[in-house]
């Protein structure tokens, strides 16, 4: 990326291990501010783990991470997690109905989400408004993913991390979410980092991309690099995913 662009999140020689397993190896690179970057790579590459480092759910063993030009250690953890919102891969719901889940981020701050705002959020992610008081047990996997995005938006994060949020969605819903992501990015200038297995999605929606494998960043650059990767492993990965 060119030097005139601002950087939302920067990694410098970041290492992370868990239970003796070296999961992230010497990660260096940055995510441009106000852009959509996709993060692709095979299962177990460490993508979800990298996200957890970005919003402080985990801390690196060594190396530095900067969020909006501030060292991550200088943030209060709660402030960091509201600035860098994450829709987790598991799309976990708390017990209760859709409203309880949408209200959760505000409830944690002793505030309350209005019914109108709740319906607005449902509409935004493409869920029917009358789902507001439906029990989350009765939602499909794809509907939970949509709800999970809506819930993450409640904190109005400046940086949005989306982990495999379209994996359980049909083609039409996937396209809806793709449009939604573009719209959020254009409307609020929100920096979006998106983990996806779908390389077509990465090319269509993402402006930049990171390719990770076995805990390392292999290639970064404009999404176009996915069309002609330099690295042999990436070439094989791209071919495999495209099939």
């Amino acid at each position: 990326m060119s030097s005139t662009e601002n950087i939302a999140i920067k990694f410098e020689k970041v290492n992370f291990s868990d239970e003796g397993l070296h999961i992230l190896k010497n990660i260096t690179g940055s995510f441009p501010e106000g852009k959509i970057t996709t993060l692709v790579g095979p299962s177990g590459a460490g993508k979800s783990t990298l996200f957890k480092l970005c919003n402080g759910l985990k801390s690196p063993d060594s190396g530095d991470i900067y969020v909006l030009n501030q060292h991550i250690k200088n943030y209060n953890p709660i402030e960091l997690r509201r600035t860098v919102g994450i829709a987790l891969q598991s799309a976990t719901m708390i017990k209760g109905n859709v409203y309880d889940n949408l209200n959760l981020p505000l409830d944690l701050q002793n505030q309350e989400l209005s019914e109108d705002r709740g319906k607005e959020l449902l509409k935004l992610v493409g869920l029917p408004e009358d789902y507001l008081y439906r029990n989350t047990k009765d939602l499909s996997g794809g509907q939970r993913q949509k709800l999970s995005i809506a819930r993450t938006l409640v904190n109005q994060p400046e940086i949005l991390l989306l982990d495999e949020i379209t994996s359980s969605l049909d083609r039409v819903s996937q396209e809806d979410i793709e449009k939604l992501i573009k719209r959020i990015n254009e409307t609020y200038r929100t920096t979006i980092i998106w983990i996806t297995h779908n390389l077509k999605q990465a090319l269509d929606v993402g402006q930049y991309t990171w390719v990770m494998m076995e805990g390392q960043v292999i290639e970064t650059g404009p999404s176009d690099i996915l069309n002609h990767p330099q690295n042999e492993d990436v070439q094989r990965f791209v071919k495999g995913e495209a099939e």
Partner: protein, 255 residues
């Protein structure tokens, strides 16, 4: 009762032994160990108590209580699923509950400040607190393991550590104290409580025995609720570091 009649009660140990042998239940060894241990432990306690009662010294009473708390701590952390650094939290819980209950009993002159009252009541309070601790810890670590994703979700949305484990904490407090409350609802209908039975057999007036039993029951209500809440609030912060990250390796759930 004398030692001759006591030795006749061994018949009640021999019956299960014979049954176990003939039906090949394989419980002979454990039965014998259990019988021998109860004989040695209870007789030892009896002689120690006799000595403490006769000496009428507060120091010995205090030593007995310290001994009880040590044993209860050892047992609770060995038997229960655990959380890193739980030992001192158990000690603090037992010391607090003992001080609270004796403080009220002695402070309001409900019971006299003699070894005869302090020691058995302390034994019951600490013993029950120990059982409650084990119940609570098993449930709490189980909840935390099952709901780890929920903990992570709440943290990721900017919740505090307390908010992140609040549901699990409340569920575990409730689940561990409900048996105490429920069992008191039917007490006396199904079986007479052990302490009351013992007193009546030893010749006490049944109404007096009932009044003491009620005192104990009410004490145990406080013990149950205070133990779970205190242990819960003391132990959950250990599960997080100062960056408000959940440390799942601090859960030592080996059962």
């Amino acid at each position: 009762m004398n030692y001759l009649t006591l030795s006749l009660t061994l018949i009640f140990v021999v019956i299960p032994l014979i049954l176990s042998k003939t039906l090949k239940l394989g419980m002979e060894k454990d039965t014998i160990i259990a019988a021998v241990r109860s004989i040695i432990q209870l007789l030892a306690v009896g002689y120690v108590l006799q000595f403490v009662f006769e000496s009428e010294s507060m120091i010995y009473i205090l030593l007995m209580i310290i001994l009880m708390i040590t044993a209860a701590t050892h047992n609770a952390q060995r038997k229960g699923a655990s959380i890193k650094g739980i030992i001192w939290k158990l000690v603090a819980t037992f010391v607090f509950i003992e001080a609270l209950t004796q403080g009220i009993l002695l402070g309001l002159n409900i019971t006299p400040a003699t070894a005869q009252y302090i020691i058995p009541i302390s034994g019951m309070v600490i013993g029950n607190s120990m059982v409650l601790s084990i119940l609570f810890l098993n449930r709490f670590t189980g909840e935390l393991n099952n709901q780890e994703e929920q903990t992570e979700l709440i943290l990721s949305l900017g919740g505090t550590p307390k908010q992140a484990v609040y549901r699990q904490l409340i569920t575990s407090i409730k689940a561990s104290t409900i048996p105490t409350i429920e069992s008191q609802k039917t007490i006396g209908l199904v079986q007479l409580p052990g302490m009351m039975s013992g007193q009546i057999i030893a010749g006490a007036d049944p109404v007096q025995a009932v009044m003491f039993q009620l005192l104990i029951l009410f004490l145990l209500l406080t013990t149950a609720v205070v133990t779970s809440i205190l242990l819960g609030y003391l132990s959950y912060p250990t599960l997080f570091n100062d960056r408000m990250q959940f440390l799942d390796n601090h859960l030592e759930n080996d059962n």
